[in-house]
Amino acid sequence: MDFLADYLWLIIALPLAGAVALHFGGKFLPEPLPGLVAVGAIGTAFLIAAAAFVPLATGEAEAHILMLWDWMPGIGAAFEIRWDQLSALMTLIVTGVGTLIHIYSIGYMHGDPRFSRFFTYLNLFAASMLTLVLANNYAMMFVGWELVGLCSYLLISFWFTRPSAAAAGKKAFVVNRIGDFAFIVGLMLVFTQFGSLSMSETVLSHPGEVLSPGTATAIAILFLIGAAGKSAQIPLYVWLPDAMEGPTPVSALIHAATMVTAGVYLIARNAAIFELSPVALPIVATVGAATALVAALIAVGQNDIKKVLAYSTVSQLGYMFLAVGSAGYVAGVFHLMTHAFFKALLFLGAGSVIHGMHEEQDMRKMGGLRTAMPITHATMLVATLAIAGIFPFAGFFSKDEILASVFANGGYYLVLWGVGLFTAFLTAYYMTRQYIMVFWGKPRWVEGLKPHESSLWMTVPLMVLAVLSAGAGFLNTPQLLTLEHYLEPVFEALHPAHLESELPRILGMDGLAFGLAIVSLGVAVIGIATAGFVYARSSERFRQWFANATRRPMNASENAFWVDKFYGKTIVLPGKKLAQGLASFDSFFVDGAVNGVAGVVQRIGMSLKPLQSGFVRSYGATFVAGVIGLVIFFLTRGGL
């Protein structure tokens, strides 16, 4: 399929063209045509990507670079596409899951007055994300990076007449920008060190010969901050829960499956630089582990169906950062993929529930929905088991891979492993809690509300994602390691973590690895059992006692540990005061100085005014005085 290599740009161009066409012509098309146009665009992109993927997968083809055009040659910025195993995989995820979500949106956005505008933005987002993952040039990647931020802004505040939605969109963009600040400084460093911004000339060609460990650390930390902004890690995650203001397909596509993974992708792509630094990778892993834990603790106390999933996403992204921070690059990418499937499924399922419950989002007002919404229930059950990490669903394999990589590093990483393990327990717990609150128990909703299953537009994508969530794990089972072999050419120059021990092999796996797998499975089962007991099987008395005993921690969790308030008090408010102070300074002092000068001139003029008295005789007297003065002057100086 080599002829495709020259047409790879179509993958980006098709959704972009879709966006432009829908922007100008969308309002003339009746529902669901705009949606179908959008699906067509991204679906075709998926097919092209799949066709070009095959030779890479079979090993026939190698990485390919397609130069589009020179952008800013003075700093080595160009639009060039890189088609290698990693970017191809990311492209498939983006276009594949993206197409499913586009289809789902036709059902979800039915009846919205800005139906075609929604698909304009979705297609634009797809084009932007594809620009990001296909870039072989940091500047081009940054274009995609920022444009997904733009689309996130547009889509979060899609229902802009809601002030909370508008504010959430702005918050997302601004917090992302803080990360971008660090990213730009990192790019400046890259250019001044390497003389180019092309990845094939920088990070992918022996950066160790150019970068000192200190510089590599600087670049790595800057990229980490940028990634933390985009992928909602501590301390820049606060925009993601607010982003739930957007329509649910947006949350599924952008804030679960694709945009937020950009940070993980960035680190995986630049792993060579991270490895040159003695401290960068452990810092990444620590950030990831901490985020995973804190977010999971917050998810336990949430009552809004989407907020649980939002914090769960932050937590799972933390796992991905933990993975790449432990040099488990394949594990991180693997989890990125499986998470895309089951998290998208969870969000789409939540959207189906919300629609079926006539826009109710509070789980305390749900319950017993498994009979009213059977397809949604079944698919969400699959997703819940997947994210909890139950064999044989996808999440089990990917999460286990991560924990194995962490463990393999030993030393300090064993602490992180423990954190990861505890977080797995929490994940299983809060997801089961959500599942039970929504689908089991007695109905707690408002009288007369009749929940119904969603249309085929919405349920078919759910089913497809359920199949993927169930089976994708087998893409990288410990025995077959197909994904690992596939990604080998990308990471071969690096030092990925591998778990090896002296123990005998069980089921084709290293003995220690098998043991760890059993441990993580066990932890997940305990988590499910605990939640099942608390929320489904326990007696009324126990529930009372439990509610009382956990009142303080649950309250803290529900309020997300008041982090937003903290930021407000320490950053936002002082910032505003400082800006106000500078503005006053400008008006009073700087401008005042100008007006002051004018005032001084005026006063001088006023003081000289009495000289012009209008009296002829005083003028005459001045004449005479002047003459006498001149005469004396010339007499004493002795001549003219």
Partner: protein
């Protein structure tokens, strides 16, 4: 001839009288007469000096001065008459509308 000194002295005295009159009198006509006095004292100076140096440029200068004085008187008196017709007073102190 007694040299230019007595003439110079007379001219100086006339000049001082004229200057004093110019500065101290309020009436525009009197001020004008003082100015004429000053101009003529200068004329006297010119003639005396010219005679003393032996150069008739001094006497020629007097003609210039006389012409200029005449022109100035014509215009000045016309202005004073116009002002007097408007204000019924020739006092210079009242003409202070051009103050700053």
């Amino acid at each position: 001839m007694a040299g230019p000194t007595p003439y110079m002295a007379l001219a100086f005295i006339l000049f001082v009288i004229g200057a004093t009159g110019l500065l101290t009198r309020r009436n525009a006509l009197i001020m004008f007469m003082s100015v004429e006095l000053m101009l003529n004292s200068v004329n006297l100076t010119f003639v005396a000096a010219g005679r003393a140096i032996g150069n008739f440029t001094g006497q020629v200068s007097v003609f210039f001065v006389l012409v200029v004085a005449a022109a100035e008187v014509v215009i000045g008196l016309a202005i004073i008459v116009a002002v007097f017709q408007k204000r019924n007073s020739a006092s210079v102190d009242e003409l202070s509308e051009m103050k700053g």
